[in-house]
């Protein structure tokens, strides 16, 4: 036993004359050494029992604070932060530009077109029952109401055809649009102004260009024209009949703007996944159809849209003719672009690009750099366990990376919130989605940081190389994960990126519940955007329930982090600090 210190207060400095080239045993040396200055050990010592387990928070903040300060003094930190910010800003510029673009509205049912150039869009002509192909047949236009066919007739009315008209009164005012015409037709009234006289001798000759000529003061000859007046109309030949009827005067109808007939029949959906009877014929063009054509989807309800559900999901949408056929595609396309942007940018931009690169460049060296620079022992030569130090260093990294990434996400969410589609000033509905992205990014960065830092511990020399290879692996997994088949095969489950992206995906399912419907509608009503929507969400995997996947992903990412911290500290603990 080593002698009790202080048992011999008179010991003082012992005579040390002998040189001991080879000490006999540690014990004798210990005895001698202890005896040299006996009071050194007998002094009351500090209470040490509480040094390891208490004050942990002090040490944690000290190490984390130190780590952040260290980052602040490194060029690489600023380069990484600068490049990240620039990338995000560049992408946001594209986004804002896309949202500021005025989407050319698509007129799916073609009723916004003015085929006959009479100033009235087809939709308006249909409502008035006029022809969309005849420029003289338009809403409010005067028209001829047929009464009968004759070879000779005396009445006050409108005569149409070829013959001689002897009148007591005649309507010489001609609708203005008929005067400008180059080729006149039966429908057109004769023009009295500058009417040429009929040549003598030839009883039924009429000049082609005017279609009419004057015989006498109260008699004119017309060929293939219309005239309104009171008198007797006699056909040139007995077999050549003319029409008699009455002329209904025109009335003023303001042409409606074409835009009224574009995007005028939107998708009407009450959000009820148990109600198959959806849709409303906003513009009434279904109800204008013959009754036999009003129920083309055969569900027994005229002018509706049949939604087919399977277990609460829309699997098919079958509209009747002319129902919901011209929705506002610009709104739809913008919404799709917006959602795709958040989903893809959240997943690829934040999760993969920043999520991998920031830890790769900043976390790989958490322990390794201290190794390399030979300063590690300043931190380790303190009453602090190595596992603790490793965890606190990670904490310091997070103290820098999380606020930075959250700031970028916040900036992005503000930009997309204000510039995104919608009537409100700010898209509050996206906040939940961005929260999902933020959670995914934070946890992914944490997991990558633990992995890369552990690689740095396992091999200070080849740690960066290992980390790069792993980052490439994650990239490949991310790429493969975009394919539905690979996702479903479960190969992607072996990557951190998968679990991060599944958080975003699950959040998209939970927040944008109408995305599936939008996707189906895109297909049913036949426009683009379906493909873009496909990127918004992928089929939930490994389970079919987004909420379960969300929780599972969070647990998985934390587990991976913890696993690598355990591996890292196990290597760290055995490492000699030369």
């Amino acid at each position: 036993m080593i002698p009790q210190v202080g048992s011999d207060p008179e010991a003082g400095m012992p005579q040390q004359t002998a040189i001991a080239p080879r000490p006999e045993s540690a014990q004798t040396i210990a005895q001698r050494a202890v005896a040299v200055v006996p009071d050194a050990v007998s002094r009351p010592v500090k209470s040490l029992a509480d040094t390891v387990w208490t004050k942990i928070d002090r040490k944690a903040t000290a190490v984390a604070e130190f780590t952040i300060k260290q980052y602040r003094n490194r060029m690489s930190t600023w380069v990484v932060a600068g490049i990240s910010t620039m990338v995000i800003m560049l992408v946001l510029t594209f986004y804002v530009d896309r949202m500021a673009d005025v989407e050319p509205a698509i007129d799916q049912d073609g009723d916004g077109k003015d085929w006959d150039d009479d100033g009235y869009p087809a939709g308006q002509e249909w409502q008035y029952g006029t022809s969309d192909r005849d420029p003289y047949d338009f809403p409010g236009a005067p028209y001829f109401e047929f009464e009968g066919l004759y070879t000779e007739y005396t009445a006050n009315g409108t005569f149409r055809g070829s013959g001689t008209f002897q009148y007591s009164w005649v309507n010489t005012s001609v609708p203005p649009h008929q005067q400008a015409r180059e080729w006149l037709s039966w429908n057109d009234h004769v023009v009295f102004e500058n009417m040429p006289d009929c040549p003598d001798g030839d009883d039924d000759w009429v000049p082609w260009d005017t279609g009419s000529c004057r015989v006498d003061e109260d008699e004119i000859r017309i060929r293939g024209r219309t005239v309104t007046g009171d008198g007797t109309f006699t056909a040139f030949e007995s077999w050549e009949q003319f029409e008699f009827g009455s002329w209904v005067d025109g009335f003023e109808v303001d042409p409606e703007p074409r835009s009224k007939y574009i995007d005028e029949d939107g998708i009407d959906w009450d959000g009820d996944f148990n109600n198959p009877n959806q849709g409303y014929d906003d513009d009434g063009d279904c109800h204008d159809l013959p009754v036999s054509e009003q129920d083309s989807n055969g569900d027994g309800i005229p002018c509706n849209v049949l939604y087919v559900f399977d277990n609460g999901t829309i699997i098919d949408i079958r509209p009747d003719n002319n129902v919901d056929e011209d929705p506002d595609d610009a709104v739809f396309m913008k919404e799709v672009a917006h959602r795709s942007f958040i989903s893809i940018f959240g997943r690829v931009g934040f999760l993969f690009i920043l999520g991998i690169f920031i830890p790769l460049f900043l976390a790989s060296g958490l322990i390794r750099d201290e190794f390399e620079s030979g300063t590690l022992y300043y931190l380790l030569g303190k009453p602090i366990a190595r596992a603790e130090l490793f965890a606190y260093r990670l904490l310091g990294f997070l103290g820098l990376a999380w606020p930075f990434l959250l700031l970028l996400i916040l900036a992005t969410s503000l930009v997309t919130g204000f510039f995104g589609p919608g009537d409100s000033l700010f898209r509050f509905s996206d906040i939940a989605m961005w929260t999902g992205v933020a959670v995914a990014v934070c946890l992914t960065v944490l997991a990558y940081a633990a992995i890369f830092a552990t690689f740095g511990i396992i091999s200070p020399r080849y740690g960066m190389f290992l980390s790069l290879i792993y980052a490439i692996y994650e990239f490949v997994m991310m790429f493969l994960g975009l394919f539905q088949g690979v996702r479903q095969s479960g190969i992607s489950l072996l990557s951190v990126s998968y679990w991060g992206s599944e958080i975003v995906n699950a959040t998209a399912w939970l927040v944008w519940t109408d995305s599936a419907q939008m996707s189906e509608q895109a297909e049913a009503f036949g426009w683009l955007g379906e493909a873009a929507l496909g990127a918004v969400w992928l089929t939930p995997f490994p389970t079919a329930y987004p909420l379960v996947n969300l929780i599972l992903s969070v647990v998985m990412l934390l587990t991976i982090t913890l696993l690598f911290i355990i591996i890292g500290q196990a290597f760290f603990k055995r490492r000699e600090i030369d």
Partner: protein, 329 residues
């Protein structure tokens, strides 16, 4: 009989308990191999209290010994105890340890105050405690006027003193200084040596290494000599010196007339030979250095010969080691 290492009980995994009767440093048959190279060869040692100088040539294993003591390295064989605890496994005894490594590497971007106070917080001090403690130790090593300067702008001596300050901030019982004087200018050496002596006077256990005998001599009398990883000698420097005096020794005199001077000193009873290695040089061979040195001034004065220098070429670590090694063989 093997030392009672079990005195630490289960404490290697339990929260650490102070073991008052355990020596500050205890090594039992400790060896360290770097592949084929032997860093430390079967060293047994216990140190408690006082200032101990570890002497050894470059590569003798001084730094390896220290790194094993502070738990940076794991011994290949044998047992190490720092205050009765295995330092490689349990960092708890670091609470009583201050260690200044030989490494020049520091966080150059920090100020002296930041460096010391940040590391002080790893002992569980609060921010304010750490700052005031850091100021205290920085003032103690004489750096109070440059605490807010970046370490990168410090001179070598100042860097060394910051390292010492950082090792003192936890008011340790054991202070280990690995080559604290290396590369310092004379002024810095004096300051650092004063600091070490002062610490010794405060009753701390101090272990300081050097490869220069004179440096150690000015700090302490208690020395450990390492050579090729082996513990060569352990004890009081004066005792070793006295032993040295009894062995064949040489005194080098520089004089224009070495042969005339040789005739003067040769009759002295303790001088058994003279040699003339070079022009203007005389070497006196003696068995009793002190006796010759006592009479030499009188003999030279009486002869009236001029002497420009008196040197003891053997008064260095190499000679000491040479003798010790000879004695062993």
């Amino acid at each position: 009989m093997i030392p009672d290492f079990t005195q630490t009980g289960e404490s290697e995994t339990q929260p650490w308990q102070a073991i008052p009767e355990a020596p500050a440093v205890l090594l039992d048959h400790v060896s360290k191999f770097y592949g084929q190279v032997v860093g430390l060869n079967d060293v047994s040692l216990a140190i408690s209290g006082g200032v101990t100088g570890v002497l050894g040539m470059n590569g003798a294993g001084k730094s390896t010994l220290f790194k094993i003591i502070v738990g940076r390295l794991k011994p290949s064989q044998g047992t190490v105890r720092l205050f009765g605890t295995n330092p490689f496994v349990n960092p708890a005894p670091y609470h009583r340890l201050g260690y200044v490594s030989e490494s020049e590497k520091m966080y150059d971007w920090m100020t002296g105050l930041e460096f010391v106070s940040t590391l002080a917080r790893l002992y569980g001090m609060t921010r304010d405690e750490a700052k005031s403690e850091a100021m205290r130790v920085l003032t103690f090593v004489g750096l109070s006027d440059v605490v807010n300067k970046e370490i990168g702008k410090y001179s070598k001596g100042m860097r060394q003193r910051v390292k010492i300050a950082h090792a003192l901030v936890n008011d340790p019982d054991l202070i280990i200084l690995d080559e604290p004087l290396a590369g310092c200018d004379p002024l810095a050496r004096t300051t650092i040596m004063n600091v070490v002596r002062e610490l010794g006077a405060m009753g701390k256990t101090i272990i300081v290494s050097s490869h220069i005998l004179q440096e150690i001599e000015r700090i302490t009398e208690q020395i450990v000599i390492l050579h090729n990883g082996r513990l060569l000698a352990l004890g009081n420097l004066h005792a070793i010196r006295e032993l040295l005096d009894q062995i064949p020794h040489r005194i080098l005199l520089r004089t224009p007339e070495p042969r005339a001077l040789g005739e003067v000193v040769l009759p002295h009873p303790d001088v058994y030979g003279v040699r003339f290695p070079n022009e203007g040089e005389l070497i006196i061979e003696t068995n009793d250095l002190s006796a010759v040195h006592a009479d030499l001034p009188r003999l030279i004065t009486e002869s009236g010969l001029s002497v420009t220098a008196i040197e003891n070429p053997d008064d260095n670590l190499e000679s000491l080691l040479g003798y010790l090694l000879e004695g062993r063989s």
